[in-house]
């Protein structure tokens, strides 16, 4: 499965276009980490707990998108975009979408 955010793949031709696939997840961090983040708001600096949270969310969302693409028989997802939004304090939504396509097999 090729996942990319460009519209064409060098050296490969799109033979079928299967439409849009999406994946999303809403995640929250537990209260302990939220309290730590509160402290960080005094001293500044990177919130590693939240960076990790977003990373996990991103992987999860991408997995869901890939599962959807596989289910409809695609072998690549192109033109992938990410969108994030915060819903309430400590929770974040991550949405990923792209176009599922079938690519020609590479010339050997």
């Amino acid at each position: 499965m090729i996942i990319t955010n460009i519209e064409i793949i060098p050296g490969r031709r799109v033979i079928r276009h299967l439409g849009m696939v999406t994946g999303s997840t809403v995640r929250a961090k537990h209260a302990g980490k939220d309290i730590m983040a509160g402290f960080k708001n005094i001293f500044g600096g990177e919130l590693t707990a939240y960076t990790e949270l977003m990373q996990e969310a991103r992987e999860e969302a991408m997995q869901r998108m890939v599962a959807q693409a596989k289910a409809i028989g695609a072998n690549a997802v192109i033109n992938v975009r990410f969108a994030t939004s915060s819903i309430t304090a400590g929770a974040a939504e991550l949405f990923v979408y792209g176009t599922a396509v079938v690519l020609e097999e590479p010339a050997a």
Binding site: T4, E7, N41, F43, G44, G45, E46, L47, T51
Partner: protein, 152 residues
């Protein structure tokens, strides 16, 4: 406001100032070092990859960073809001987050052995605290397609 409140406020303000500046200084220095180290890897926001002579693999690479406002920056920005103008204290914060996110993306691409990254998009979102004066943090995500030369 009691005297105790004032002391707490001043303590938070100075802690924010001292640690915030120290953190920022250290962060910028590490960003600069790593940017120097990764100068070879080219990053473009172009939508289409340039014509390739050799076959390449396309891999999605992502980097993200969440940075918190410190108490001092928050306070200064609050004052600035009264008079208007550039919020320099937030500008440096966003710059830090953005450069860090780009660096992490580059690191991921470099680990794969990529020669360039095309179609880079940067997404910014703010993660706010419970109340307006509590401050918050900003998340920056950078993503693009790494072109990895295919091994024969």
């Amino acid at each position: 406001m009691t005297q105790f409140d004032l002391i707490v406020f001043l303590a938070l303000l100075s802690a924010g100032y001292v640690f915030g500046r120290y953190n920022e200084h250290r962060h910028f220095r590490s960003i600069q070092e790593r940017e120097q180290a990764m100068r070879e890897l080219l990053v473009f926001s172009e939508r289409f990859p340039p014509p390739q002579e050799k076959p390449v693999d396309c891999v999605l690479v992502v980097g993200s960073c969440v940075v918190a406002f410190d108490y001092f920056k928050n306070f200064v920005a609050g004052l600035r809001n009264l008079f208007g103008g550039r919020l320099t204290s937030y500008e440096t914060l966003l710059e830090r987050a953005r450069r860090e996110a780009l660096l992490r993306m580059k690191q991921e691409a470099a680990d794969l052995g990529a020669t360039m990254i095309v179609n880079v998009k940067i997404e910014t979102s703010s993660i706010s605290g419970e109340s307006a004066n509590q401050g918050g943090s900003v998340e920056v995500m950078a993503y693009g397609t790494a072109l990895v030369p295919r091994q024969p």
